[in-house]
Symmetry: C2
Subunit: 262 residues, 2 copies
DNA sequence: TGCGGAGAAAATATCGATAAATTTTCGTTT
DNA sequence: AAACGAAAATTTATCGATATTTTCTCCGCA
């Protein structure tokens, strides 16, 4: 009954307001990859996921092509697609570029930002503060909500930047980084028996960042953001390295090859 | 006779050694866009180019998706594809990012580069020198060869950089920039009656750049490269602005809408 | 036992056709 | 004559099926 699955997908896509089936599939698969449902390095057999999503091969293929452009999937001509591998080197690479680009976007925002931008930033940090209060409950849901707020705060910081390309690159890098963020969180949760703790004084860093931004202190803001990004990455690195090999969440027929965080 | 066109395309693709029909179409269309054969903002009707290339719609579509990820084509859900517009603001945006990223890549190369890297750089500049000698003949072909050498030189400078992402971004930005480069060259050629002259002392800049790189003088190299990129962009900007509206090279049925270098 | 290659199985890339949306055309009404 | 809206025509997005390539398997041979 392909018509069945097809109708379901189509309805779901329409419900979310996806302009196109392809973009719906794209978003979903992206989420799955970030969440580690497809392990790094795992082969993505078009025929399989195509069936899973209930769409045609060419639709699936186009969604995959988009993921390739986001760096979450790799493609080798005539040899299909696979989930982009993860590695410490890769995390460092992402971090390095985030350092360069996000600080640049922030500085530009500080120069060009108007009051509306300031409001965005203040609102975002307020949101985080609230989320942090709730996080005491240690529920995974609250934590992922905090993640969302954190993401929004970072976006707000660079929102006044006038370069569309710069913003886009920052966005893409953040998404790639999110995969590591997610892994790190999972590991941490496993370690502490299902709950998650906020590491170090993230809140203070955010406050300082906001203050520098509102004071239009470019140098301070740049420095603080750089430290923030670097420290975050270091934390992840330690966590991932400490626990060692990642386990494939839902092992396909054969284990996912060579990819490893190690 | 679709089988005819199909066979021809396939042979041609095989001859160039393209791993896939899609990638062949992708490369060709990219060249066409950079060369202005498809004007900025022009609508790319899948059905048309599909027929022109002699491939199926889904193949064409995948090639277009890749071009979207390179920023040379834009796509709006349910409303098809069009050539990415060009504008002064866009040129400035590209330039800004090139300034950030290429200098970073260069500095990294200087830190990490070994003798093999030095050789690449020296070889590349020698190549340019030879090309510059030939350029006296004022033939368009020689000029485009010089362009190729110039591109190679820039690539060589960043080749020792250890960040794959950084290299990739630099590459993509250079390609986007190439479109402006090409336009600028065409205008210049029209103005001077079909021939092209080398502007200013590019050669001296290249020499200085190489020297700083080989001396491992990060600061000097960064400064020179930044100036080099900025000056190049300024030159293009002046040329394009001076001559005004771009003319669609091969006007489709209707003029290509709003896009303009102005 | 281990190597190499023919053949089968699976997966990829590509095609031609269809359904859904867009844009255009053209007649009608105020 | 302008504006509106419905039907036609074009175009996009999607599908199901096919041809080609890669991968796996298994058998013969040194």
């Amino acid at each position: 009954m392909p018509a069945e699955a097809q109708r379901r997908i189509r309805e779901e896509a329409a419900a979310v307001g996806a302009p196109t089936l392809t973009s719906f599939v794209f978003e979903n698969l992206r989420r799955d990859i970030i969440a580690g449902i497809h392990a790094p390095g795992e082969k993505l057999r078009v025929e399989h996921i195509r069936a899973e999503f209930g769409v045609a091969a060419s639709t699936m293929r186009e969604a995959l092509a988009r993921l390739v452009s986001e760096g979450l999937v790799t493609a080798e001509g005539q040899r299909g697609f696979r989930v982009a591998p993860m590695s410490l080197a890769d995390l460092r690479d992402i971090t390095r570029l985030r350092l360069i680009l996000e600080t640049e976007a922030l500085v530009e925002s500080i120069r060009a930002g108007d009051v509306a931008w300031e409001c965005q930033v203040v609102a975002a940090i307020h949101n985080i503060t609230r989320a942090e209060e709730r996080i005491g409950s240690m529920k995974a849901e609250d934590f992922s909500h905090w993640e969302e707020c954190n993401k929004e705060f970072h976006r707000a910081l660079g929102a006044a930047c006038t370069s569309p390309r710069l913003q886009q690159l920052v966005e893409i890098l953040y998404r790639q980084h999110e995969r590591y963020r997610f892994q790190s969180m999972m590991r941490s949760a496993e370690d502490s028996g299902g709950t998650t703790r906020l590491r170090r004084n993230v809140h203070a860093e955010h406050e300082a960042l906001m203050k520098a931004a509102l004071d239009r202190d470019e140098d301070a803001a740049r420095r603080i953001l750089a430290d923030h990004i670097q420290i975050t990455a270091d934390t992840f690195e330690r966590r991932l390295a400490a626990i060692g090999e990642p386990k494939a969440k839902r092992a396909g027929r054969k284990a996912a090859g060579d990819s490893a965080v190690a």
